[in-house]
Amino acid sequence: MSLILYYPWNWYPSVVIGFGLWTLAYLLLIGPLRLRFGWGKLPAPGQQIAFHFGTLIALFALVSPLDTLGDEYLFSAHMVQHLLLLFITAPLWLLGIPGWSFDLLLPRKQIVKLARMLTNPLVSFFIFAFVMIVWHLPALYNLALEHEGLHIFEHLTYLAAAVIGWWPIAAPDTCIAPKPTPPVRMLYIFLLTIPCTGLAAILTFAKVPFYPFYITAPRILGLSTLADQQLGGLLMWLPTHLVLLSALSLTFFGWFSSLKNNTGNHHPASQLP
């Protein structure tokens, strides 16, 4: 923790301005624009907090000393940065953005088709897994660390893939891309653990370091390159599973509550004559 004091914060203009505009857009959306055009209800305070918290976490991940640590010294720190973006920011943003804002795109048929395709659980699963795995291939991972432009692109694709990946679980209720039913959501969450576990296991149990950048990076905190990589793998393992377990639990309990008020008309056999 005292590392925070040693390493600099990097208030990258692109990041600060970018998130500033993002927040502004959100505030305009739920504020003046919403009132002017009568788009829908104000998101609950909890939702708004979730959204802003997600933005703050992303900001923290990208400008705090964590960024320096990750970009210059430690694989595990870099992992924390990515995990914050993928597993905290993305779902929080989805929880915070009101459903009616997405439905504004309903008149555009092509966009509706695209949205439905992207948020189909099979597709979103693959996008999320693919993006995550591809960026961990040693050649690409290294390249991103060496070229700032590619690195920014990497983060943007992470965020986009994460939003798509989390959509079937955490998205608001919309007409444009409705979420699957709770049991399907729960299965989806479980399946998401598989690419995470696979990647995490490989990183944790590997006997050799994979990423040339971190082999030549200066050693700090007494962590060897290999130990650093293993720590990164473990961070990918347990914390992500805890987040997914929480999502699973929330979905389960939400589902049960909705069933309590049910008279039993929503399941297969009862739809038959």
């Binding site: 291939l137 399946l191 598989i194 696979g198 296991a201 490989i202 149990f205 590997a206 006997k207 050799v208 297969p268 056999a269 739809q271 038959l272 004559p273």
Partner: protein
């Protein structure tokens, strides 16, 4: 499923789909663990990448065959959804032949690879991954053959063609697995 079909039929379709999805889920974990074994072994020693890269052409061509067959499988299902029996039969046949061609190509590739299954860990991984995939393609071919037969007997209509759906989705699956395996073995 459409408004013309009875709820009982929709129920049957749903049942078949859930069964297929679960079966594909289990197969996916199987291929995944094979790929994990591959990755684990790859770390062990100097992986002979030159071996595969130099012979990329043939597998690449075979991939095109398989992807083409996925398209023809799609056409087959689209045909029967519109009630086009001839279309169904023709496209099924083409898909089946392309599938067989793919498997033959794989066998050809295997025998000319200059590699044996007991050639270090690499040989084992290569043949296991490719071999199990080819077996699944063969299973798909068998399903397509059975469907062809039933199509000829007039078993399918625009409203009722569960077996065609199942066969087609299985075929898509086999193609998707190939793409992933190809990328893992030849490109990475």
């Amino acid at each position: 499923m459409n408004a013309l079909t009875s709820p009982a039929h929709n129920h049957k379709v749903m049942t078949a789909r859930i069964a297929l999805l679960t079966a594909l889920g289990t197969e996916s974990v199987f291929f995944l663990t094979l790929i994990v074994a591959y990755i684990a072994l790859r770390n062990q020693f100097n992986w002979p990448m030159e071996h595969t890269l130099s012979r990329l052409a043939f597998p690449l061509a075979n991939s095109a065959v398989l992807i083409l067959s996925a398209l023809t499988a799609w056409r087959a299902q689209a045909s029967i959804s519109l009630g086009d029996q001839t279309g169904l039969k023709s496209w099924l046949l083409v898909t089946l032949l392309l599938g067989l061609f793919f498997v033959a190509g794989q066998v050809f590739d295997f025998t000319n690879a200059g590699l044996r299954i007991n050639d270090q860990a690499f040989g084992g991984v290569f043949f296991t991954l490719m071999g199990f995939h080819a077996l699944h393609v063969l299973a798909g071919v068998v399903i397509l053959a059975m469907n062809s037969l039933r199509a000829r007997l007039g078993d399918f209509t625009a409203e009722k063609h569960i077996a065609i759906e199942i066969g087609t989705y299985f075929w898509y699956y086999v193609t998707a697995v190939w793409i992933i395996l190809f990328a893992a073995l030849f490109l990475v």
